[in-house]
Each structure stands twice: as structure tokens, then as C-alpha cells.
């Protein structure tokens, strides 16, 4: 089972979009171990009353399907120099602290992605998580395509087209 740390934006996206009457996060939670930082959890709790999508995450946390971890290192001067939010910073710190115990950070934020890359931490865009699940035979192709189409509006067209091509051809480097 893949062990993933979800950033706030990836968590919101996966709670917000539905496939077959279920929020996308539920399909992910069935196949992966999802962890979020304490700060990301606080966001979920504080937004819980106002947004039905946040309630989805809140329920999964209560059911133990999303784990919440507190970071022990707070003096992250390097991360403070970037214009990242507390949730993103704690997500990165958590990945550093968990080391090889975690497979990927899932984020759709460009700045967070670049910083994570500079720290040589394994990361995935949410779209690439779906590709990864198909490649590892953890998700069937049709469900993967349905998820990509459901969340499609959120991304620039090229990201969706490329993802669908990768899924069809099984080749990430496909050019056509």
C-alpha cells in the first residue's frame, strides 16, 4: 500500500470532486494510506462546518482513514523564506521527518512542488498519483479515466490531455 502525505490543495481537490456518487478521496483512501499534517487538519476542522467537502475529509479522519501527524521540528527557517502557507510547510517537514517511511507527497501547488523537488523528496501531482495507482495495478483504467475527467476543469488542458494519453498508452513520454 502506498503511503502518501497530502497537501491542502490536493486534499481539497480530492474531497471536492465526485465519481460514481463518491468523493475521489474515498477511492484513494481505499488504496493508499493517507497522512496529513496537524496544520492541514486544522484547516479541515476550521472549514468543516461551512464546506460539505471539508466534512468528507473530517469523516475520513474520524474513521481513521486519514491519519494526522504532528511535526516535531518547528524551526524551519529555510521554508519560512518561501511564500508557503503553514500547511504546505508542515507537509514538507513531515515528509522530511518520516523519511523513507513515506512514498510521496501529493501536491498541486507549483511553489510547493519546486521546494519539495529541491529537497529531493519524492512528490506527485494529484494527476500523477492516479497514473501511479494504475501503473501499480491499484486502480483500474476506467475508474482512473473517470477521476481525471471529473477533476479536469481544475487543470490547464495540457495536463489532462497528457494524463489521459499516459493512461491510454501506458507511456509517460508519449508525444502524440
Amino acid at each position: 500500500m502506498l503511503k502518501l502525505i497530502f497537501d491542502t490543495n490536493a486534499l481539497i481537490t480530492s474531497c471536492k470532486f465526485y465519481v460514481g456518487g463518491l468523493p475521489v478521496i474515498k477511492y484513494i483512501a481505499e488504496r493508499c494510506e493517507i497522512i496529513i499534517s496537524h496544520s492541514v487538519n486544522e484547516e479541515v476542522v476550521s472549514a468543516g462546518g461551512r464546506y460539505p467537502n471539508a466534512v468528507v475529509a473530517k469523516e475520513l479522519i474520524r474513521e481513521g482513514k486519514i491519519g494526522v501527524r504532528t511535526v516535531s521540528f518547528w524551526d524551519y527557517d529555510v521554508l519560512d523564506r518561501y511564500n508557503l502557507g503553514k500547511g504546505e510547510k508542515e507537509t514538507i517537514v513531515l515528509a522530511v521527518e518520516m523519511g523513507g517511511e513515506v512514498d510521496f507527497i501529493v501536491t498541486d501547488d507549483r511553489l510547493a512542488y519546486v521546494v519539495i523537488d529541491r529537497m529531493s523528496i519524492k512528490k506527485l501531482l494529484f494527476l500523477d498519483l492516479i497514473v501511479e495507482l494504475v501503473e501499480r495495478n491499484l486502480m483500474d483504467l476506467e475508474l482512473a479515466k473517470s477521476i481525471i475527467n471529473a477533476i479536469g476543469l481544475r487543470y490547464p488542458e495540457g495536463f489532462i490531455y497528457h494524463t489521459l494519453k499516459i493512461l491510454e498508452r501506458g507511456d509517460r513520454k508519449c508525444l502524440k
Partner: protein
Amino acid sequence: MSEIKDILELIREKYGEKKVWESEMVREFMVRGFEQKLMELYEDFKSGECSLGYLAEQLGISAWEAYDILEKKGLRTTNL
């Protein structure tokens, strides 16, 4: 910051401490100020200079609220 202080002083002089929050005009100023700050931060977000979480924090709202506001304005919620 001193400019903001001056403006607040001006508003206080005009409306008095108690009436400031009842003033339609002040409310409009606040909404416009928020909108302007949102759009400035959104430009930084779009260009990858700040994250969604940072944008939300600077506006004093949660990331879920920021996501919701951007979506309602028809703006992209990702900066990929």
C-alpha cells in the same frame, strides 16, 4: 503601513469610532481592499511565487475559503 494609519484616522474623524462599522462606505472600502489584495496575491499565486496556503493566510482565511472564493470568481484554483 503609515498610509493605512492615516486613512484609518481620516475615517475615524469623519464617522467617529462607533459609526465606522455601520458605514456603508467603509464596508465598501473593506470589500474593495480585500478584493484588491486577493487579486495581487492571485497574481503571485499564478506565477508560482506563492502557494494557495500563503494566499489564504495573507487574507486571514482558510485554504478552503480561498479555494471557494477563487472558484466562485471563475479563477483557477491551481497554479500549474
